[in-house]
Subunit: 270 residues, 2 copies
Amino acid sequence: MRDALGRLSEAERHELMAVAGALADAARRETLAHFRSDSLGAESKESLRFDPVTVADRASERAMRAILALRRPFDGILGEEFGPREGTSGFTWVLDPIDGTRGYLSGTPTWGVLVAVRDATGPLFGLIDQPYIGERFAGGFGMAEVVGPMGRKGLRARAPRPLSQGILFSTFPEVGTPAEGAAFARLAREMRLVRYGMDCYAYALVAAGQIDLVVEAGLQPYDVAAPIAVIEAAGGIVTNWQGGPAAGGGQILAAANSAVHAAAMAALNG
Amino acid sequence: MRDALGRLSEAERHELMAVAGALADAARRETLAHFRSDSLGAESKESLRFDPVTVADRASERAMRAILALRRPFDGILGEEFGPREGTSGFTWVLDPIDGTRGYLSGTPTWGVLVAVRDATGPLFGLIDQPYIGERFAGGFGMAEVVGPMGRKGLRARAPRPLSQGILFSTFPEVGTPAEGAAFARLAREMRLVRYGMDCYAYALVAAGQIDLVVEAGLQPYDVAAPIAVIEAAGGIVTNWQGGPAAGGGQILAAANSAVHAAAMAALNG
């Protein structure tokens, strides 16, 4: 399936994209079946921070794993809800069945399903799907597009502008540790506008050319694989706060372009 | 059109609801025509706080006013973008063509169009419309429902629960003056979960039974008329922070029920 240079064949790329779509379709069904229902059950995964794990979260990942067992039995799986599965193909599926469970529980339309496939080089292709809106942001293998209420449209991250004209998003104002919070505050002071509460949707807005930066801390690998694929395919950059690889999670800096990325890193590390 | 007790006829109620729907339909077209476009122009209405007024904002209100000029020429109009129009019928239309212009500019799906009709007693009927999702929350004249991606569903605010199990929303963490911010922080500490960034969508989530409280400060009359109508029709309560009428704007406390309303007021004024 790979040529002499190790590149994927077109058939293999299409197969991976098709499987990613099938996973997101299945997760859409499972998550919407419980969204805004009264029967929503939630356990608390941690005691200090409110992080509900819902029935929908587990049902959504289970449905995706069932598809992978049939269609990609030799690929690995890294999911939020169940243990990792080692593969032999060199490909790993990175799944967050509901990114933004707090938003999901609150009924907002800004949580999402994250699906990505990666190899040893990093994320190859990713989807950020918002089931309630019916909106899917896709990026990788040379394509970057959104399909949603206004049809199909290419994604292109926005051109450089000064921080003082830029928009920064983070999921909530209490960003990470006190030191991380202080770094975030330094950056926030430079911006034209800082907004909260969008979960993974904020990364989609970087890819869609709507905002300049997303800065978060304490993320998991399954939180970032799909955003990395989609944003990089749209011309943006995702690293940690030091400019290193972001795929491992932790401190994440997603930027629309290299100029705003450099300016944000300077503020974070100033 | 009113009976001996001053009650509206069914025909008049239906006419007002139909006109409200026509206004929201027109605003949907105008706001979506510019949403996520690259040509979005923004002026700053204030210098201290970022409050863009977009082409879409004005076009949306203009389209609604044109409909009212034809269909309700004797009603008053209170809109965000243009001067008030006095009426002679006793009815006034309260219009916010884009509630959440910062969210609109950022491409989020949580801004909305607010349409309400009021008489001397307060808001009678209101709509909170989210054009991108295609979702409309309506309340008043004995009905409360949402029509959106999952079809048509009745709205019912949630039953009482302790603050420690409740969800509080506000648009951004910097709530009002320092004293207002301190009051908000007292309440926020009591809650299970506090989230930001939803604009008028948060009020819709109270009506939909998804969250318990929305607390904001510094609102305008056109920000609250439709939320009051929708939430009260769904069984919730909207007052100012002292329990008085909310229709004038200012400090707003929207609650799912009287128990959580009382508990929140105690925390805010503690």
